[in-house]
């Protein structure tokens, strides 16, 4: 069972994330029925799974939540800020219940507090008992005798039902006496072999309730004539008179006369069948069903796919030479398949930034409420996809940055009004690709960083000396130094002993870079720059000398063909393109490749520091979807190459970082 528990925990994590996300959405659109439905569904699945996999406390607790949201669904309960706050607290509690190693006193207390809150909420607002209790089964178990009349409809077999199984099951409940009635069987000519013609009468003695007998026929109650009556307390079949009576009836093909039976015995009680548990409505429609895979399996898959693509490219080459129509067709098919497989495999290892956004939304909501600040958290470009491991390692640093921004960046409402800003502050998280990097920015419109204060503090902390001359950027970089953050500013929020130095370290660990920019009074922008490792980019395959290079397509604005005379021995290093003077960098020069240049070369125009700059290559081969692979430590000094990719023929092309090339090339000139 343990492996299921583990699996359920994983599923529960998704459900909880989904739930949180939906709740935050609900806060924005309290009347949106679809969101309520989504909230309910997630709760319902948590409850169901919890019960099934032995997390009874989770199930029981979620049941309280579900009850309220059931009322919300039926418009009997309004979505209020209170409700959402309690719900979000409850979600946290569910996490505790699921993932804590032990249930501490604190969690226990929390449990009862929250249940009380939820119950009160439910009672107050609608005057309804909050928690319907599950099946009550407290009847003493004594033997009773029942009479059952069971006559299936003729077409009962069509749904795959076998009435005999049901009789078997019925008899398992206790001691029984069955009378079969075959008098309805027609003559052979009229008999339809797919129809059922039999019916039965059963006297059953059992300690079960009438419900349990009804349950036997649960699946067929609409497809048969069914009558279940309790005819006596005690064991009717122990009565000889009854036995004799039944035997007679069977002989004469008559039907049991209940009245007659009843006369023998005491009174009849309830006679209505009722159905089992109060299962609430709610669907389990998940939009995408998913499975979990260890990430090393994905790595292996990726490598195998790359190998397959390589082999396939060789096969293509070979089939071309063979001029065999059948082989051609097979080759083409394999090409198609391997391309699909490649796209598929790549998409597996990438996940959108969106997947971690909920935690940030939640943080903003909780903290701003706590600090009495109004903050609008916006996102842009969260569809940007990153490798799974990078995403995982990004969450904490971004959480910390946002936390700091809320705590120190965004001012309280009054201060904002006084300084003529909208009372609601904004934190924008945006993400985009640029060149071979992914950028994630956290931008706030708060009070910004005080450049002089940072300097002073750094001097105080002996990080720099009084006389150190620093540029604005260098001053800002000080906040990433270990030992800059101090106990002095430890608050509830951004304290906790971690500073921006930890952010920097964690981002460096995934080969990223972090920078800060700020205008006093206007806000702060923190930019995280990440390499596109293990990522796919749309690239432009170009050639310089004998070497293939990939330039990220996103970096390229335009491509021009230019005569080599305009490039060679051009000491101004500018060329006129579309009547504009454009500075250029010749890759042959930069790479010191001294072979003969083709007569016509091509200039890729890219944007560098908001200017158009040309990059001269021999020629452009075409577009190429490149899987970027790391070049490894041996080439760590070749910073202008951000990775490599395997081409169709199995050879390697190098991926260029145009920004770094231009920077370095400009320095060399």
């Amino acid at each position: 069972m343990d492996q299921f528990k583990q699996k359920f925990k994983e599923e529960a994590t998704d459900l909880i994330n989904d739930l949180e996300e939906a709740l935050l959405l609900l806060e924005q659109n309290p009347n949106d029925k679809d969101i309520v439905e989504r909230v309910f569904r997630a709760m319902h699945s948590l409850k169901g799974g919890g019960a099934m996999f032995g997390f009874d406390h989770v199930s029981e607790f979620t049941h309280h939540l579900e009850t309220i949201y059931d009322l919300v669904r039926e418009d009997k309960f309004l979505v209020s800020a209170d409700l959402l706050t309690i719900t979000l607290e409850s979600v946290d509690h569910i996490k505790d219940l699921l993932f804590s190693d032990e249930i501490t006193k604190e969690i226990e207390n929390n449990h009862s507090v929250l249940i009380t809150k939820l119950s009160t909420l439910a009672t107050n607002d609608v005057g309804k008992a909050a928690t319907p209790i599950e099946n009550q089964d407290n009847t003493a178990s004594t033997q009773k005798s029942f009479y059952v009349f069971f006559k299936p409809n003729p077409d009962v077999f069509e749904n795959g039902t076998n009435p005999l199984y049901l009789l078997d099951e019925l008899c398992e409940l206790g001691e029984s006496r069955i009378i079969s009635h075959s008098e309805n069987i027609p003559l052979l000519d009229d008999l339809k072999e797919s129809n059922s013609y039999l019916y039965w009468e059963v006297i059953i003695v059992t300690d079960q309730e009438l419900n349990a007998i009804g349950d036997v026929f649960l699946f067929v109650e609409d497809d048969c004539e069914l009558e279940i009556t309790q005819v006596a307390e005690g064991n009717l079949l122990a009565d000889e008179k009854v036995i004799r009576y039944l035997a007679d009836i069977e002989k004469e093909s008559k039907v049991v006369d209940i009245q007659k039976l009843e006369r023998e015995i005491s009174k009849n009680k309830e006679n209505k069948t009722e159905q089992g548990s109060k299962e609430s409505t709610g669907t389990d429609t998940s939009v995408i069903s998913s499975i979990r895979v260890a990430s090393d399996k994905i790595d292996t898959l990726m490598n195998l796919v790359s190998e397959l693509v390589t082999t396939q490219a060789r096969l293509s080459l070979f089939t071309e030479q063979q001029e065999d129509a059948e082989l051609d067709a097979i080759g083409e098919n394999i090409q198609k398949l391997s391309r699909q497989l490649r796209d598929n495999a790549f998409s597996i290892s990438l996940i959108p930034l969106q997947s971690i956004i909920t935690r940030f939304q939640r943080l903003v909501r909780d903290l701003s409420n706590g600090l009495g600040k109004k903050i609008n958290f916006k996102t842009e470009g969260t569809e940007t996809e990153l490798d799974k491991t990078i995403i995982e390692n990004l969450t904490d640093p971004i959480l910390h940055i946002i936390r700091t921004s809320i705590d120190h960046g965004i001012e309280d409402v009054q201060t904002r009004i006084n300084s003529g800003k909208p009372e609601e502050g904004t934190i924008l998280l945006r993400s985009f690709y640029s060149g071979t990097n992914v950028f994630i920015q956290i931008i706030d419109d708060g009070k910004g960083l005080d450049h002089e204060k940072i300097r002073q503090k750094a001097i105080e902390k002996n990080l720099i000396s009084e006389s150190t001359q620093l540029s604005k950027k260098e001053v800002f970089d000080l906040i990433f130094m270990a030992g800059f953050s101090t106990a002095k500013e430890v608050t509830d929020v951004s304290g906790r002993g971690v500073g921006m130095d930890v952010v920097k370290r964690k981002i460096s660990a995934i080969r990223g870079d972090v920078e800060v920019d700020s205008e006093p009074g206007e806000g702060t922008t923190i930019t995280i720059k990440l390499p596109l490792t293990l990522s796919i980019i749309d690239g432009l395959l170009v050639r310089v000398g004998v070497t293939d290079f990939i330039v990220p397509l996103s970096a390229v604005q335009k491509i021009y063909a230019v005569n080599k005379s305009e490039i060679i021995d051009n000491y101004t290093h500018t060329v006129v393109l579309d009547e504009k003077q454009t500075p250029f960098h010749n890759m042959r020069e930069f790479f010191t490749i001294d072979k003969e240049m083709p007569d016509t070369v091509q200039v890729l125009v890219v944007t560098y520091e908001e200017q158009s700059v040309g990059i001269v290559v021999d020629y452009v081969v075409g577009e190429y979807q490149a899987v970027i692979k790391p070049l490894g430590k041996h080439y760590k000094d070749q910073e202008f190459i951000s990775g490599a990719t395997i081409l169709g023929d199995g050879s390697v092309a190098l991926v260029l970082d145009t920004n770094k090339i231009i920077k370095q090339s400009a320095e060399e000139v």
């Binding site: 492996q3 299921f4 699996k7 359920f8 599923e11 319902h44 169901g48 799974g49 019960a51 099934m52 996999f53 199930s59 077999f157 069509e158 749904n159 795959g160 039902t161 076998n162 199984y165 049901l166 078997d168 099951e169 036997v216 649960l218 699946f219 067929v220 609409d222 159905q275 089992g276 548990s277 109060k278 299962e279 609430s280 409505t281 709610g282 669907t283 389990d284 429609t285 998940s286 939009v287 995408i288 069903s289 998913s290 499975i291 979990r292």
Partner: protein
């Protein structure tokens, strides 16, 4: 020969717990992730029982139940569907599509086997 049960559910954990319970009860288990995926098992090989979820992407349980019933080889195969709903509407829909009965989620192994007992012996 062991009886084969086809289970169809989009939740991996449900599939696993079903398989585990059924295999321990001595059945062979075939598993499909949705109505579309499970089609591949409707190949004429004997199936003793179908257990399907109702809410699934691609092809839902109702659609799949209809497919099974429409198949010459599986006209009489018992079909149980998994449901969390007490609403009779959904049950009726599934029954009129040809289902034999249902299993209410959450279920414990005994409950599951009890439901199966009603339709397969």
């Amino acid at each position: 020969m062991k009886k084969r049960i086809l289970i169809v559910d989009d939740s991996e954990s449900i599939r696993e717990v079903l398989s585990f319970t059924l295999e321990n009860a001595g059945y062979d288990v075939l598993a499909g992730v949705d109505g579309e995926d499970a089609q591949k098992y409707l190949n004429g090989e004997p199936i003793a029982l179908v257990i399907t979820d109702l809410h699934m992407p691609n092809k839902d349980g109702i659609g799949f139940i209809k497919d099974v019933r429409a198949h010459e080889d599986y006209k009489r195969v018992p079909i149980l569907f998994l449901t969390t709903e007490s609403q009779t509407a959904k049950k009726m829909e599934a029954k009129s599509a040809g289902a034999t009965g249902w299993i209410v989620k959450p279920f414990v192994p005994q409950k599951l086997l009890a439901a199966i007992n009603k339709v397969v012996r």
